[in-house]
């Protein structure tokens, strides 16, 4: 089955064509440069860019896959969660493309998409597995027992992990996007130099919180004078990153204790963080579990993962999807 999927929930305009578990094309037009000067994603700016980019991106996905719209068996689109104005551009586009060609349409939950990135080739992972999705928009610990859905074991109570890294990077004057900037700065730093608290460490559940770690960084910076911050920036970055990653690993560890999971998967933009990758690999090795790391371009937002989730969902037939709204 050939699917065309569209994803516009945040700041990447994405379209992809898949055939079964195989990606035939996956086009991602990043708007990072447009948001850089604002130090974060601006919803109105994102929505304007999506509208500009969505048709050329769909065209590129179709032509890279060497198919026409008439050749696809169905369409898929992210309905939420995400920025409402951004989602609406993708939903309106997908509904219109599907309606014009009388094709079925599948509405996909963005987080299910991140989980479903693992079902794609090469080395597709089959449930059951435990999946940690961490990005600028979400932090989710998902128990995956079947491909059509997942169980939310834990999620963040405040900032997303990537959002905390972004804010930390801003406090340290490291620029945007913050995750890669912190990681680069941390390379030259000592992760034990500052003892930042690890959130939710006493909490028996699987939820996350990063506000305490963030506040600790703020105070540490405030207690130093400007030249000291300059001098110790690498140590601050390394210690902050270590505290964020430590919490992610601790919750993963706790969830592995609580359930029978033969495999672990990472998703979301923060999954590109090499410290997180290393720590997760160590955890899995120690427990004798399979670790699935999807390529970076499938960790960050993309439409191939949306098509991958759609494969396992019931499509809506024309005209049942015409009145769909986005679900922020």
């Amino acid at each position: 089955m050939v699917l065309l999927a569209i994803e516009t929930s945040c700041d990447d305009t994405c379209a992809a064509v898949t055939e079964g578990a195989r990606i035939r094309s996956s086009v991602i037009s990043s708007q990072a440069a447009a948001h850089e000067r604002f130090g974060g994603v601006v919803p109105e700016v994102a929505s304007r860019h999506h509208l500009e980019l969505v048709n050329p991106v769909v065209d590129a996905a179709l032509s890279e896959a060497d198919v026409g719209l008439e050749d696809v068996d169905g369409l898929a689109v992210t309905r939420g969660p995400g920025l409402i104005g951004a989602l609406l551009v993708g939903v309106a586009t997908a509904k219109s493309l599907a309606a014009a060609t009388r094709k079925p349409l599948v509405g996909v939950d963005h987080l299910h998409g991140h989980v479903a990135a693992n079902f794609l080739e090469p080395e597709a992972l089959e449930p059951p597995f435990l999946c940690l999705v961490a990005s600028g928009g979400h932090t989710l610990l998902a128990g995956v027992r079947e491909p059509a859905g997942f169980e939310t074991l834990g999620q963040t109570l405040d900032d997303a992990a990537g959002e905390a890294l972004d804010k930390g990077a801003r406090m340290l004057g490291l620029g945007y996007p913050g995750g890669p900037a912190i990681e680069r700065a941390a390379l030259a730093g000592d992760p034990t130099a500052f003892d930042f608290p690890v959130g939710m460490s006493r909490d028996p559940g699987f939820d996350f919180s990063f506000s305490g770690t963030k506040t600790a960084l703020l105070y540490a910076i405030r207690d130093l004078d400007r030249s000291e911050v300059e001098e110790r920036r690498a140590d601050l970055a390394a210690s902050f990153q270590a505290a964020v990653v430590k919490q992610l690993i601790a919750k993963l560890d706790k969830a592995l204790d609580a359930g029978e999971w033969p495999a672990v998967a990472l998703g979301g933009g923060v999954a590109a963080n090499s410290l997180l990758r290393r720590r997760t690999a160590e955890l899995c090795e120690g427990r004798g579990l399979r670790l699935k790391l999807v390529p970076t371009e499938l960790c960050t937002d993309n439409a191939a993962m949306i098509a991958s989730a759609a494969r396992f969902l019931e499509p809506a037939r024309y005209p049942d999807y015409l009145e769909w709204d986005a679900a922020a």
């Binding site: 109105e44 509208l51 969505v54 409402i84 309106a92 997908a94 219109s96 493309l97 009145e323």
Partner: protein, 232 residues
């Protein structure tokens, strides 16, 4: 020649299908009482309905889409829909100014006669989107965003009588009247954008490459304004 036209710049979802300048079907969906506009849920459903009444997409020769100015979200839904339909069906897409369509409706009222037509939409934040047209439909002022006082100031300098309509004309009726502008009576249907006008303007207009069809925002994103303020 059949044309499907629609506009989502205001709170309405306005959709029509015309054939040789006759309206075959026309819909105007207002928001539910106290609710949000039905742009997201209503637009493509209404388009499919009028196209069905007109005999299907095979008979449609062009798509006209209202490009504002107006509600950013509404406009994006309308433009995304128009672009995707044109892309999927390989039909010409014609961008139509929402204020021009509104002015055309005002011009059809008997009160209009030889007066200038002022199309005014409530732009929120105490401002209006406005454009001015002559009796023949020619544009006198390009679309602009302004506060009521600034708009009144510009209107006072007009040498000819002027008739105003639209949500902004209702909202700023007092200021407009004080500036010597006549305003259509409250219940007049010409205060709302009619998609039939979008179809007629599209029939006379030029198709554009779909990537070049974009909303007329007139306002930058707020974040842009804050950034500029910070820089000063």
């Amino acid at each position: 020649m059949s044309i499907v036209g629609f506009d989502t710049a205001t709170d309405d979802v306005a959709v029509a299908l015309t054939r040789d300048a006759d309206a075959i079907a026309e819909r105007q969906l207002a928001p539910p009482d106290g609710g949000r506009p039905r742009h997201a849920s209503g637009l493509i459903a209404e388009i499919e309905a009028v196209v069905g009444e007109g005999g299907g997409w095979e008979l449609v020769e062009a798509i006209g889409v209202g490009v504002g100015p107006g509600s950013f979200t509404g406009l994006r839904i309308g433009v995304a829909t128009g672009r995707a339909l044109a892309q999927a069906l390989a039909k010409p897409l014609v961008p139509v100014g929402t204020l021009e369509a509104l002015a055309r409706g005002i011009g059809e009222r008997s009160e209009a006669s030889e007066r200038l037509r002022l199309a005014v939409l409530d732009a929120r934040r105490g401002q209006a989107f406005a454009a001015l047209f002559g009796p023949g439909g020619e544009q006198v002022w390009a679309p602009l965003v302004a506060g009521p006082e600034e708009l009144a100031e510009r209107l006072r300098s007009l040498a000819r009588p002027c008739l105003a309509g639209g949500s902004g004309a209702l909202r700023f009726r007092r200021v407009l009247k004080a500036a010597g502008v006549a305003v259509l009576a409250d219940p007049d249907p010409a205060h709302r954008v009619s998609a039939r006008q979008v179809c007629d303007l599209a029939a006379a207009g030029a198709p554009a490459p779909i990537e070049s069809v974009r909303p007329i925002y007139l306002r930058p994103p707020d974040a842009e304004i804050w950034l500029e303020r910070d820089a000063r």
